[in-house]
Amino acid sequence: MAESHAHAHEPHGHAHHEPEGWFKHYFWSTDHKMIAKQYLLTGMLMGVVGAYFAYVFRMQLAFPGKPVPGYGMVTGADYNALITNHGAVMIFWVAMPVLIAAFGNYLIPLMIGADDMVFPRLNRLSYQIFLVSAIILGASFFVQGGAFGGAWTSYPPLSAKAEYNLTPLGPSLWLIAVALEFVAFLLGGINFVTTAMNARAPGMKAFDIPMAVWMIVIASIMFMASVGPLVAGAVMLLFDQLIGTGFFDPDRGGDPVLWQHLFWFFGHPEVYVVLLPAMGFVAEIITVFSRKKLFAYKTVLYTSIGTGVLSFFVWAHHQFIAGIDPRMANVFSVTTVLISIPIAEMCFVYIATLYGGSITFSVPMLWALAFIGEFLVGGVTGIFLGASGADIYFHDTYFVVAHFHYTFFPIAIIGTFAGITYWFPKMYGRHMNELANKVHFWITTVAFNGIFIPLFILGASGDHRRIFDYSNFPELATPEMQAMRVFATISLLVLLAAQPIFLVNFFYSMFKGKQAGANPWNANTLEWQCPSPPPHGNFDVLPDVYRGPYEYSSPDRADDFWPQNSPS
C-alpha cells in the first residue's frame, strides 16, 4: 500500500526552520495554525460589527424614531443598509471564515496527522484575498451615497440601478466584496479537500476520518459546486451596475428572476455548507463528553452527503411567490419537505449517541447540546415555510427571520463557542476560565430564545420584514405587538452584554490561563496526541493510525479512550 511505504521514507515531522521575524510569524505565515487564527480573529471582529448592526436596527424597532445611543437617528435608508450588511457579514464574514476557514485550517492537518496543508502559500493567499474582501465591504460604508441597502439577497432591478437604490457606489463595492470572498473560499477549498483526501496519516482509511474533517470537506465540495452560477451572476449584475448592460433589466429584455435562481441555487446549499461543519464539531464534542462512540458513523456520513445532494434541488422554495411558474412551486415544495428526512435522521442519530453514555456537562458539551436542542426548533419551523401553501402567508414575515435565526444562530454562534471552548486548550496551551464560560453560556442561550420566540409570534401576527417602523400599519402597530418588539430588543441587549465575558476570558486566558497538557479531555483524535500548542510541523514524529476516531469505553481496555495512533 502506498501509505506504509510513504511512512517508511518520511523524515521527522518537525522540519528545520529558521527563527521567524515578527512580521513573518504573524502576518506572512504559511503555517495552517497561524492562518486559522487570522481567520478566527477576523471573523470574531466581523461578528462584533454584525452584532452592532443588529443592536442599532433592533433599537430602532423597539423605540422607533428615537436616536439610538452609539449611532444616532436611523432613517429608512440607514435601516436597509444595516439589515443588509448584518446578514451579509454574519454569513460571509463570520460563519464561513470561523466554521470553515478557521477550524478547517486548524483542525484538518492535525486531525489527519499531517504537518501542514498541502498548499501552504495558496492558503496564505486565500486569507489575504478574504481580508481584502472584508476591507472592501467596510469601505462600502464610507463612500458617497452610503452602503448597499437592498438586502443580502441583492435582487435586481433594485440592486442593479442607482436610480432605484439611491446608493451609487455601495452596491458595486458590496458585490465585489462578496465575489472576492467567494474566490477566497474556492481557493481555500482546494486546500481542505486535497489535504484531507491525500495527506492522511498511513492507516487512516475513509471511515477512520473524524467527522469534523468529513463535514468540512463535504461542505467545501458543496460550496464549490453551488457558487459557480452565482459568480457568473455577480459578473452579470456588476456589468448591469457599472456599464449599463441589461442582464436583469426587463426594459432591455433581461429577467430579474434569473438573478433569484442563480442566487438561491447557491443560497440554499450554502446554509448546509455552514451547517455541516458545526455538526462536525458537535460530533467530536458529544463523543468525548459522553465517552461514547459516535452512533452509526456511516449513517451520519451518508445522511450528510444525502442532505448535501438534496440541498441542490430545493432552492426555489425561496421563490414560491416570486413569479415563478406556480406548478414549479409544487415540485420544490415536495423536495423541500423531503429534505427533512435525512436531517431528521442526522438529529436522531446524534441524540442516540447519548444513549448509554456517561455524560459530563463541560462547557463545550453545554454548547454542543444547546446546538442540538435549538437547531431542532429551526428545523421544524422550516416545514411551515417549505409547505408552499403555508408559505404564502409566512413568506417575508418575521416568522422566516425567527426560523433562520434558530438555524443560523446555533450554526454560527453556538457552533463557534462550542469549537472555541473545546479546542482552545490545544490552540493556546491554556484553559479558559470555566465559571466565566458557564455564565456566558447560560445568559447567551436564554437571551437568544428571548429574542426570537417573540419574532415567531410577530411574524404570525403579520409583521413583514425589512420594515423600519411599524406605526404606518394599524394592524401591526398595537401595544401588544410593540411590547413583543421591545422584549426582543431587551433580550438582545442582555445577549450582547454577556459577550464581553467571553471575549475577556478568551484574550486573558490566551496569556494567563491555567496551563493545559496535550490531551486535557482524554480524546482519541490526532490533534490531541501532539503538544498544546502544536509546534511548527505539528508532530515530532508523524503518526500512524490504527483505528477509528471514536473508540471510547471499549470493553477491551482499562482506559475509557483509545487514541487513534496508539499501536495497542
Binding site: 526552520h17 504537518d115 496543508m117 498541502v118 452579470m236
Partner: protein, 190 residues
C-alpha cells in the same frame, strides 16, 4: 519555502497537484455552466437573438477553434516530453502553446474591433451582453492560463517541477473545451 511532508503524500494514489487542478476545473465548470445555462435560457425565450447572432463571424470563430485545438495538441506533446524527462522540449512545446493562445487573442481582437465598430457593443442588447461576457470570461482564462504556462515553461526548461507540465496541460484542455461549447452556442446556434 520547504514543502510540507503533507504535499508528498497520496492516500488516494492521485498526486496532490493533479487533484488540485481537477478541483479548480470542477469549480470553473460550474461557473461557466451557470453562465451558459443562463444564456441558453434567455436565448430560448428570445428567438429574435438569432438575427443578432447572425452578425458574429463564424470564420473567425472556426479559425480560433482550430488554433485552440492545435494548442491543446502541443500541450499534450509537451506533457509527453516532460514524462520522458526532456524539460527543454517540454518548455518549447509549452511556448508553442502560448503562441496559440496569443493567436487566439489576436484573432478575437480583430473580431471584437470589427463588431464594436459596427455598433454591436456589450450594451447593445441581451445577446451581445452575453456574447462579450462569456467570450470575455473565457478570454481572461486564456490569458491567465498562458501566463501560468510561461512560468511552468521557465521551470521546465531547467528540468524543474516537470509534473506541472501535465497540470497546466489539463487546465489548457479545459479552456479549449469551454471554447468548444461557446463556439456553437454563440456563433452557430439559430
Amino acid at each position: 519555502m520547504v514543502k510540507p511532508i503533507a504535499t508528498t503524500r497520496s492516500a488516494t494514489g492521485v498526486p496532490t497537484g493533479r487533484l488540485a487542478v481537477w478541483w479548480v476545473i470542477a469549480s470553473e465548470i460550474v461557473i461557466f455552466g451557470g453562465l451558459l445555462a443562463s444564456y441558453v435560457m434567455h436565448r430560448l425565450g428570445h428567438p429574435e437573438w438569432a438575427t443578432y447572432a447572425a452578425h458574429t463571424n463564424p470564420w473567425a470563430g472556426g479559425l480560433n477553434t482550430l488554433v485552440l485545438l492545435t494548442s491543446s495538441l502541443t500541450a499534450v506533446l509537451a506533457h509527453n516530453a516532460a514524462e520522458r524527462g526532456n524539460g527543454k522540449r517540454a518548455a518549447n512545446l509549452l511556448m508553442l502553446t502560448c503562441v496559440g493562445a496569443l493567436t487566439f487573442l489576436v484573432v478575437k481582437s480583430f473580431e471584437w474591433y470589427h463588431e464594436i465598430s459596427e455598433g454591436f457593443t456589450i450594451t447593445a442588447n441581451g445577446f451581445w451582453s452575453f456574447y462579450y461576457c462569456a467570450a470575455g470570461l473565457h478570454g481572461i482564462h486564456v490569458i491567465a492560463g498562458a501566463i501560468i504556462m510561461l512560468f511552468v515553461a521557465a521551470d521546465a526548461r531547467k528540468n524543474k517541477e516537470l509534473q506541472r507540465v501535465e497540470l497546466i496541460g489539463i487546465y489548457w484542455h479545459f479552456v479549449d473545451l469551454v471554447w468548444i461549447f461557446l463556439f456553437p452556442l454563440l456563433y452557430i446556434a439559430k
